[in-house]
């Protein structure tokens, strides 16, 4: 699951967890459109929920909500930075 850089794919993150997208070769497979929607390295995302039937999933990033299939979330890698029940980090990238 977790590789040597501590990156896991977005689809493997549990619901409610926050993560930061990381710069990793797996992101190469990311579609142009998902990048244009702001899924770029350094962006904070939060996994909000899975759909009632288990797929797709809903994430929050850059102040909005996006749903995407698990197969697409597979191509997005992220480092988990904690579980939140209340804090709403809709910040973009932080340096």
């Amino acid at each position: 699951m977790t590789d040597r850089n501590g990156c896991i794919s977005l689809s493997e993150l549990p619901v409610g967890s926050q993560a930061r997208l990381c710069d990793h070769e797996r992101s190469e497979a990311l579609s142009e459109r998902l990048q244009d929607l702001g899924l770029v390295p350094g962006t904070d995302v939060k996994v909000i929920r899975r759909a009632p039937l288990g797929d797709p999933l809903e994430v929050e990033l850059r102040g909005y909500r996006l749903c995407l299939r698990r197969s697409e979330a597979d191509a997005v890698c992220a480092t988990a930075n904690g579980h939140s029940t209340n804090g709403h980090s809709t910040n973009g990238r932080s340096r």
């Binding site: 929607l37 350094g42 909005y64 809709t90 973009g92």
Partner: protein, 627 residues
């Protein structure tokens, strides 16, 4: 030399650009007074809406471009925006100025689109909408600073309350005075683009905004693993129930009204071919178009409302998994749902689907969904041949058969999608991503404008074809003229004329082919006529069965029942035929335009006809054997 009167200066052309859900349409309606000329962009079927800026002395034409998330176009809608801003759409001039609309609550995403649009070097003013929501959630944004950073004028508005609009209208009149960026922000590489966006967002005070609490609360219920599915199912039941409880009485009223009008005309006008043309051709034709309006208006009101509120995106999110089983995706669901009103808007709604494969699959199966044109046919045959007995409680056999036809259509659509995606359209598995916008209540004005847009588009597209078809049909039924004995009663005269008509010859020619389905030449005429539009068969049968008044539903029902050649087996077979066959000229034309070739509509027609023929054959032979 004569001095020509000075021509009025050409209007300034301003185009609105922005993401879906950015408040662009609300702003368009506020600026133009919701009066828009709708047409298509040249050469494509993407809707083009243009209005005139109200309350300003200078003529300013405002063009509403489709919503787009990125200038790297993914859908036909987005391609139009890209082409227009490049001046590459033949027949569409490059706009003089742009009104770029972004939702203030999603600046960390939408400023990415801003960097891309600025590369086109068209004078641009940036409008930040929903600033009231931003204020309530996270405080002030420094829009002046944003303007200085971007080098263009930036204005904050609340479209539906009219806040900031006056200033915007003033600015729109003088794009010559707008500041232009001296250095363009990075736009090519998404990583660089969003690094710049984040830096700017931090400076102008885009904070870690608290989420919209209302949306959170609604989603906890509407997307709940159990309640979410239950509410989705209830919404669908409500949608279909509305067709029957609200639309059917209105449809009956329209039918009765036109019947009365036809009877009145016959009573007052002298008998003759012109009177026939007026009552059987024109009145019947107009009536058969107007009869759809109640159902289409109700369905579109509900669909647009669900869309504007933000529920449609959730519905797509909920059903995406199921759509995925047959190789489609959540967005296709919205399109298939619209097809219950009419396949044409359903097919046109596929323009927001990114993958060509998903679009084509959806377009091909949309005509299986039970559209409003099938309803009059189903109603007539079920009322005539299915006993009105109660099965349990309020559930009657007639209602159950009707439901069965709806379900059969939907199952066939899904089965066909699966078949297509595993054969002709096999390729990369489809993907699905979609913004889930915050829940927002649309204004009545916006909703009314959208519903009118959909209904009038239907009238333009389908209405003209249906009307033309019923006129052609009338000619085929009325010519060549057969000399009839004037001593006969009018119904017998009409029947004699019909039997010698061109239409009857066509019916007799195809009779051998349709006999195994339980159809005689008279139904054959109806089927040929229904190629133009399905419900035309009802008026055709009325004429063939020489019901004195073509809109006399009960009279026609009685005639059908008393015909020994028209039994229950034939009725069931005919019902099944209508579930499957692609009998709609307008749909075929729209399919060709949306897929860019006649190959797909030709395939769909043949596929659906083969399916209809086989299913009718099996139904008739089985029913005859059992009954």
């Amino acid at each position: 030399m004569t001095v020509a009167a000075a021509a009025p200066p050409a209007p300034l052309r301003v185009a609105l650009v922005g993401s879906p859900n950015s408040g662009k349409t609300t702003l368009f309606n506020a600026l133009t007074g919701a009066r828009a000329k709708t047409a298509n962009f040249p050469g494509v079927t993407v809707e083009r809406r243009e209005g005139r800026l109200t309350g300003t002395p200078r003529r300013v034409a405002v063009l509403d471009l489709p919503g787009t998330y990125s200038m790297r176009a993914e859908t036909p809608d987005e391609k139009v925006v890209d082409d227009v801003l490049n001046g590459q759409l033949a027949g569409e001039e490059l706009p003089d100025a742009l009104l770029l609309v972004v939702d203030g609550t999603t600046l960390r995403r939408s400023l990415g689109l801003v960097t891309q649009v600025l590369q086109r070097r068209i004078p641009t003013v940036l409008v930040v909408t929903m600033i009231d929501e931003v204020r309530a959630r996270s405080g002030e944004l420094d829009l002046d600073l944003l303007g200085r950073i971007l080098g263009i004028p930036v204005l904050g508005v609340v479209g539906h309350r009219g806040i900031g609009l006056e200033e915007l209208s003033c600015a729109l009149e003088r794009p010559e005075g707008w500041s232009r960026p001296s250095i363009l922000p990075p736009s090519d590489d998404p990583d660089d683009r969003f690094a710049w966006v984040d830096a700017v967002a931090d400076r102008i005070g885009v904070t870690n905004a608290t989420r919209d609490r209302r949306t959170d609360r609604f989603d906890r219920v509407l997307l709940h693993p159990v309640w979410g599915i239950a509410i989705f199912a209830l919404t669908m039941v409500f949608l279909f129930q509305s067709i029957f409880t609200w639309a059917v009485p209105a449809m009956d009223a329209i039918e009765m009204g036109f019947g009365a009008l036809a009877r009145g005309s016959r009573a007052t006008l002298p008998p003759g071919i012109l009177t026939d043309l007026w009552t059987d051709g024109i009145l019947a034709g107009v009536g058969s178009v107007l009869i759809f309006i109640p159902q289409i208006a109700i369905l579109f009101t509900l669909i647009h409302f669900l869309e504007d509120v933000g529920y449609m995106a959730r519905a797509a999110f909920v059903v995406d998994r199921v759509m995925g089983w047959v190789g489609l995706q959540g967005r296709c669901f919205v399109s298939l749902l619209s097809s219950y009103a009419c396949a044409i808007p359903g097919i046109m709604a596929t323009r927001t689907i990114p993958s060509t494969r998903d679009r084509v699959a959806t377009i091909l199966v949309a005509p299986f969904m039970t559209c409003s044109a099938r309803l009059p046919v189903y109603t007539l045959l079920i009322a005539a041949f299915i006993p009105a007995q109660s099965l349990f409680g309020p559930v009657g056999l007639q209602g159950l058969v009707m439901l069965g036809l709806y379900v059969l259509g939907a199952l066939t659509a899904f089965g066909s999608a699966w078949l297509l995606n595993s054969t002709l359209l096999r390729g990369t598995p489809s993907s699905f991503h979609m913004e889930l916008p915050p829940y927002r209540l649309p204004t009545l004005k916006l909703l009314a404008a959208q519903v009118w847009g959909s209904v009038s588009a239907f009238l333009r597209r389908a209405g003209t074809i249906i009307l033309a078809a019923s006129l052609i049909l009338w000619v085929l039924l009325a010519f060549p003229r057969t000399p009839v004995d004037p001593g006969l009663d009018p119904a017998a005269q009409a029947q004699a004329q019909l039997e010698g008509s061109a239409a009857a010859r066509v019916g007799r020619a195809i009779e051998p082919a349709i006999e195994p389905l339980g159809f005689d030449w008279r139904i054959g005429v109806g089927l040929v006529a229904a190629l133009a539009a399905r419900e035309v068969i009802v008026t055709t049968l009325a004429q063939i069965y020489a019901v004195a008044d073509p809109d006399d539903f009960d009279g026609l029902r009685a005639e059908l029942l008393s015909d020994p050649a028209f039994g229950v087996a034939t009725a069931l077979s005919l019902l099944v035929f209508f579930v499957f066959a692609l009998q709609c000229t307008s749909t075929i034309v729209v399919m060709a335009r949306e897929t860019g070739s006649w190959r797909w509509p030709a395939f769909a027609f043949a596929y659906m006809l083969a399916l209809a023929y086989t299913a009718s054959f099996v139904t008739f032979q089985t029913a005859r054997w059992i009954l």
